[in-house]
Symmetry: D2
Subunit: 282 residues, 4 copies
C-alpha cells in the first residue's frame, strides 16, 4: 500500500466527503487520518486526508480524485507522503533558528527536504557545511536588491522549492515576491504578533513592561508582520529580566515555534484561508 496526502478547499456543499471516500475506496484504499473544517462565517470548506491506496501511481490517484471532486470546483493537491516538501531556508547572522531546523531534520523529526540555504552574510556557511547542505551567499544592498531577488527566484525554480523559510533573515522581501508566492513564504517574528511589529521587538517589549514575551510564525505578505499566523507561543518574564535577557529567552521560543510551524507545513497540516490559517494539529 502507498500512502497519500490530499488537501482540498472549496465552498461547502453536501457530497464532498462522500465523493472523496468513493474515490479512495475505488483506489482500493482506506482513510488513515481525516480532518475537516467549515468556516461558519464564510462556508468555506477545508479538508486534509491521509489515505492508503493499493496503487503506487500519483497520476492515477490525482486523476481519480479530481474526477470525483471536480463538480465542487476545489483547490485540490495530492502527493505521495514519501515525496517530501522542499524548503529553502534564508538566514542572516543569527544561527539559532537554522540550527534548530537542521538538528530536527537530522533527527528525523522534520519530514521535509532542505536542498539549499541562502544568506545575505557569509557567517553561517560553516553551520550549513556541518550539515552538508549547499550554502549560497547572496549579499543584499539597496543597489543589489533586485539582483538578489532574481537569484532567489532562480534557486526556487532550480531546486523545485515548495516553501521559503525566513529563519531570522533580516531583509524584507519585495511586495512582488510576496504576492507571487502566497502561502509559500514563512517568517518567524520575534514577538507575539500583533504586538511589537517591526524592529527590536524585545526592546519594545521590555520598555512596555510585558510579563510574557513570544514569537510568531506566519506567512509573509506584502504588509510587514501582517501575514496569516501559523503558530505562536510565549514564555513568562519577570521584572528582573533585562532586554538582553528577553533576547536570550526569546531565542528558545523562536526556534520552538518555527520548528513546530515547519513540521505542520511538512505534513500539509496548514491551509491558508484569506487572512487566517486552518491548522490541523495532531
Amino acid at each position: 500500500m502507498t500512502i497519500y496526502i490530499s488537501t482540498l478547499q472549496c465552498h461547502d456543499q453536501p457530497g464532498i466527503v462522500l465523493a472523496t471516500t468513493t474515490a479512495i475506496v475505488a483506489l482500493g484504499g482506506n482513510i488513515l487520518e481525516n480532518d475537516q473544517f467549515t468556516d461558519p462565517v464564510t462556508d468555506h470548506f477545508v479538508m486534509r486526508t491521509r489515505f492508503s491506496a493499493s496503487v503506487d501511481d500519483i497520476e492515477r490517484v490525482q486523476g481519480l480524485l479530481f474526477e470525483h471532486l471536480e463538480r465542487f470546483e476545489p483547490t485540490l493537491r495530492v502527493r505521495r507522503e514519501s515525496d517530501r516538501r522542499r524548503a529553502l531556508v534564508m538566514v542572516s547572522k543569527y544561527d539559532h533558528c537554522l540550527a534548530e531546523l537542521l538538528y530536527r531534520h537530522e533527527q528525523g523529526d522534520l519530514p521535509l527536504d532542505i536542498p539549499v540555504i541562502i544568506s545575505n552574510h557569509p557567517d553561517l556557511a560553516p553551520v550549513a557545511a556541518t550539515h552538508r547542505i549547499p550554502f549560497v551567499h547572496v549579499p543584499v544592498s539597496a543597489a543589489t536588491k533586485d539582483v538578489a531577488e532574481s537569484m532567489l527566484r532562480a534557486l526556487v525554480d532550480e531546486h523545485r522549492i515548495d516553501v521559503v523559510v525566513l529563519a531570522r533573515y533580516m531583509q524584507v522581501l519585495s511586495p512582488a515576491f510576496c504576492r507571487d508566492f502566497p502561502g509559500r513564504v514563512v517568517n518567524i517574528h520575534h514577538s507575539f504578533l500583533p504586538g511589537f511589529k517591526g524592529s527590536r521587538p524585545y526592546h519594545q517589549a521590555y520598555n512596555r513592561g510585558v510579563k510574557l514575551i513570544g514569537a510568531t510564525a506566519h506567512f509573509v505578505t506584502p504588509e510587514l508582520d501582517e501575514g496569516p499566523i501559523i503558530d505562536q507561543d510565549v514564555v513568562r518574564v519577570s521584572h528582573a529580566r533585562t532586554a538582553d535577557d528577553f533576547v536570550a529567552l526569546g531565542r528558545d521560543v523562536e526556534r520552538t515555534v518555527l520548528a513546530r510551524a515547519m513540521t505542520l507545513i511538512a505534513e500539509d497540516r496548514v491551509a491558508l484561508v484569506g487572512q487566517r490559517t486552518v491548522v490541523f494539529t495532531q
Copy 2:
C-alpha cells in the same frame, strides 16, 4: 435543519466514512464537523460526526445510519444536539468544583443538564439552592454504604442520568457500581496522575518537593485512581509554597480541568477505548 451528533466505534475497515456520508446525504443533510481516529496499534476506529439533516426525527436518523453501517458491527450512538446529556453531580464538603460547574452551566458554557446533586454531607445544600437544583443528602457510613448506593442507582434511573460526576466526592464507589457504569462516572483527582494516588495528594507532592502540581479528570473504574484519563493540567509551584498553598493553588487547576472534561463530555467529544480515551478537541 436539525443538528445531530453521532459517535461510532468499530474495527477499522474501508467504507465506514463512505457509508456514513451516504446516509447523511440521503437525510438531506451535511457534515458540520467530523473527527476520526484509527489506533495504529489495535486498528480500532473512532468517529464523531456533527451533521445537519432536513428531517427532525431521531428514530428515522438513527435507523438510516444503523442500516448503512450495521455490516461494520459498530457501537453507534446518535442524538439531537439539543437533547442534552444529563449529569448527576456528587459532592462532599468542598464546593469549588461544584461552584465552577454550576457557574459555567448558568453562563451557558456547559451544555448539559444537571437535574440533581447528591452529597454525603448537608453542607453544600445552600449552593444547590442558589442555583435552584434539587439537592439530596445521602449520608454514607460503613453500615449504610449499600443503601446509599441503591439510592444513587435509583436517582440515576429516575433522572435518566448519562454521567455521574464526582466533584470532590470523598467516598469511594463500590466496584460493582464502577463496573455497571463504565465510561459514565467521572472523577476529578487532585494530583497529576499517576503521581500521588490516594489521599492527601498535595501533601504527598509537597513532601516530594515537586515543582508542578496538577489535577486529573478520569473515568472511574474499580481500581482506585487508575481509570482512563480525560484531561489533566498543572500549575508551577515554588519552594516558598506550603502544602496548604498547594491545596489552594490546586483548587484552581481542579475546577478548570473538571469543567473542561465535562464540556468535552457534554459535546460527545470523549470516547473510551480500553484503558485510554480518544478526545476530539476543538
Copy 3:
C-alpha cells in the same frame, strides 16, 4: 509577635538593607521574607520586607524604620499584615470577574477587604447581595460623568479605599482621576496587551487569526490600555473557535489574571516603577 509588611523605593546606595535589618533587630524582630530588586538601567531600588516584631505598635515600628532609613530618602510604607488593603470593585454587566474575586475572597484566598461595589448598571446587585457587600448603582452618561466620578471619589474617601478595581467596568475614568490615583486603579483588559487595545479585542483577535488569546491586568493611566502591566496570561485557540468562543474562553483567562493580580496587590507584592511594575511573586 506581630507581623508587618514594609515596602520601600529609593535610589540604590550601600547600607539600605543594613539600616532596615538594624531597625528590625532593634524591634526584637526577624525577617520572614525579603525581596529586593535594583533596576540595572536606572539604579532604582525596590524592596519588600515581611517581618515580625515583638511590639504591636504600628507607629513605633514605622517611626523606627523611618529614622533608620530617612537618609536614603525612600518612599516607605509599613503596615501590620492584619490591617488588610481595602478594594472598591467597579463593574458593569459582565459578572465573571466580580464573581471570581468574591468567590476567592470568601474562600480566604484573597486577603483584602471589599467594603463596596459600584456599578453603572443595576444588573449585578444580586451578586453583591449574595455576598452581603454594599452595592451602589451610579449611572454614567455623557451628562452625568462628572457627577458619577465625584461619587466615586466620595466613596473612595468614605471607605478609606487603597485600590479601585475595574472588573470589566465598561466606562473610561477621566484623566484627572487616573492622575490623582497613580498605582491605585487596576483594570483587566481582555487582550494580551499591547495587542488589541480598545474595544472588542476578541473580535479583533479573531479577525487577525491569532493562535493564543490573552488578558492583561494593568494599572490605569490617562492613556487608554497603556498603563503598567501587573500580570498577563494566554490560552491557546484553534481555527475552529469563533469570535464568540474567544469571548467565552477569554473569560477564564480574565478572571484568573485579575484574581492573581489582586492577590499580589493584597500582599503588597507589586511596586510601580515608572511605566513598569516590579512583582515579587512567591
Copy 4:
C-alpha cells in the same frame, strides 16, 4: 568592583542579614541581588547574595563574611562570579541533551565550564569534537563497573569538577558515589516524576493514556529517581500520538528542563535542603 556570589544555609535566627550586610559594607560593596527563604516547617534559613566589593581578593572576602557570620554556624560558600562552576557531562547514545547544553554553552547562555565529557559508548565523540571538548570513552559492564567509577572519580578530581551532569546517561551510578557527591550529581529523567520511574517511561505513559508528558531534572541519590527535584516541565499530548511520538516530543522537554536546571546551578540558584530544593529563579 568585583562581583561575588555567596550562598548560605543555617538555622533561622535574628541577625543573619544584618551580619551579612555589615560585612559587605565593610568590603566597600553593595548587594546586587538577594534572595532568602525560611522554611516555615523546619526554620531552616537559605540565602543567596550577589554583591559587589571594592576588593578583588576572594580569601579576604570569604574571611570577612565567615568572621561576621560564624556565630550562626552556617554552611557558607563564596565565589567570584567570574570563577565559573565546572561541569562534567556524562552521556550514552542519545545526543539531544548534550547538544542542547553545548549549544547554549557556545551561545554564552550557560555560564559554566565543561572541561570533559564521559560516555560509556563512543558514538557521541564527534559531537564533543565539534565543540572541541575532550571526550573520554569509559565502557561499563558488570565486570568493569568499579573500574569505570574509579575513572570517573579521577576525572572529577583532575578537572576540579563541581557538578556531574547525567545527560541521558543510561547507567546507574553506585550508591557509594551518590552518597559521596550529594547535591553534585544532576540527572534528567524522561518523565514527570514521581510518575513513571525506571525504564521506558514514555511507553509507560502511553499505556497509561496520560494527556501531558514531562521531564524532571533532579539531584541523584542512592534511591533511583527519588532525588530532590530541581525543575520539571510538561507538554500536552493527544490520543493521536504514539509512544514513539512521545519519545520525540519528550526530547524537547528534556533538553529544555535540563538546560534550565544547569543554568540555575551555574548561577548558584539551587540549594539542597533535605529531600527538597530551594530554587531562587529570576
